[in-house]
Subunit: 240 residues, 2 copies
């Protein structure tokens, strides 16, 4: 454990956990699709892998305001990038391969991170109400929660389109939870930690091995929150 | 007004309204995209319009379990159908046209149906709490609600992935509303009327000029709910 837990002597009224890359693996599936996408484009153009990634990320970012987060928008951005990068030379059959890549991601088995089940069971045993607050596509996230086998262990599930202080603030107000009694744990500084700290809540950062470039924070703060190697250690952090 | 409003002498505790094709036009934009999609395929294959529509609908239905509802899934289904129907002969530049079609739908201005604003204002003036319960893509629906100019007039907005009795039941329970005190008005018998009647709630059907084939109910019931030509007439129906 690193970081500060000053003023954490009281238990929180609610412990909220992020979904993708906190409860279950996600970015690994995106990374595998990136690999296959680069291979596919490599049949037509000779570009360094880093350049293909940068072009795809630029398309994704440009499309965020139209598509939001999630696999369907990612698939559409892969198709668009492939058409642009090949100057329209990519055959339809290979565009179908990109659609298949996207569909495989949606059907990908939901694999819990190591220690998640143990942490959830210990938090529940201590009587702490648990929420999932996850960002992305409503349909895909609901499907992942259902397939995770965790749904019944959480008191509340909230799928949001963006994790900013406004979103967290509305959610806490609607449920009558003062921010200082709220704890959020997740893998993204940008989505799980900083907006919660901005509201006066408590945050625990549990980094994942991979981070989507869009979620990377340029100047990462290190103060005011705790950092854990694994969600398994969260009950200990709370003194349970 | 047609249909039955027996037992409606008490005002409901909540009036919930559907979004697409109840508050704002939606299916007209899909129909326009269907037209352009048929034109595009017409450059490559000689198929009757009805057959193209049937093939696209079959793809959409097959993909519902992976994509859910919404424009992004519809766009992916158009691309897939175009590749299949042309036997892979469609050039990438025309697939880009399909992506552009989808993006134009997402950016399409939100146009309220006639009488909606008047109905909402009268219901609010009578002190009735108003909800929006709408189905589809979280990001797209949030964007439409924001652009509709109606967001501040509703006490609660719920975006769901499917409108079935389970979904309505959970929503009412979470908000402490007995089904008999709940009234839902919308354009879809399948999504807005039948599941609410099944729970013991009240439903008002306000048909739209167009109905997506997937929402059509084979044997439409006519009993147990009211039918209005326009949402404008809802306050009168409730005796306001």
């Amino acid at each position: 454990m690193q970081g500060s837990t000053q003023g954490w002597s009281r238990l929180p009224a609610v412990v909220a956990l992020d979904g993708d890359d906190t409860l279950w693996h996600n970015e690994t599936a995106f990374a595998a699709s990136h690999d296959r996408f680069r291979d596919l484009l490599g049949r037509h153009v000779d570009l360094p892998a880093a350049e293909v990634d940068a072009l795809l990320l630029a398309t994704e970012r440009r499309n965020l305001s139209a598509y939001g987060y999630g696999v369907k928008g990612f698939t559409l951005s892969m198709v668009e990038t492939a058409i642009a990068v090949t100057g329209g030379r990519i055959p339809a059959a290979e565009i179908q391969e990109i659609l298949d890549l996207g569909r495989a991601m949606l059907a990908h088995p939901v694999e819990l991170l190591d220690g998640v089940r143990e942490a959830v069971d210990r938090l529940r045993a201590a009587g702490l109400p648990l929420w999932i607050i996850t960002k992305g596509d409503l349909f895909d996230q609901e499907s992942k929660i259902a397939r995770s086998g965790l749904a019944d262990l959480f008191q509340h599930v909230e799928i949001v389109s963006e994790k900013d202080p406004d979103t967290y603030g509305r959610l806490l107000e609607r449920n009558g939870i003062p921010p200082r009694d709220f704890l959020m744990a997740g893998n993204s500084l940008r989505s799980d930690v900083l907006p919660v700290l901005a509201l006066g809540g408590r945050a625990v950062h549990v980094p994942y091995a991979l981070t989507w470039a869009h979620e990377v924070v340029d100047e990462a703060p290190t103060d005011g929150f705790a950092t854990l190697d694994s969600l398994r250690d969260l009950p200990d952090l709370l003194g349970l």
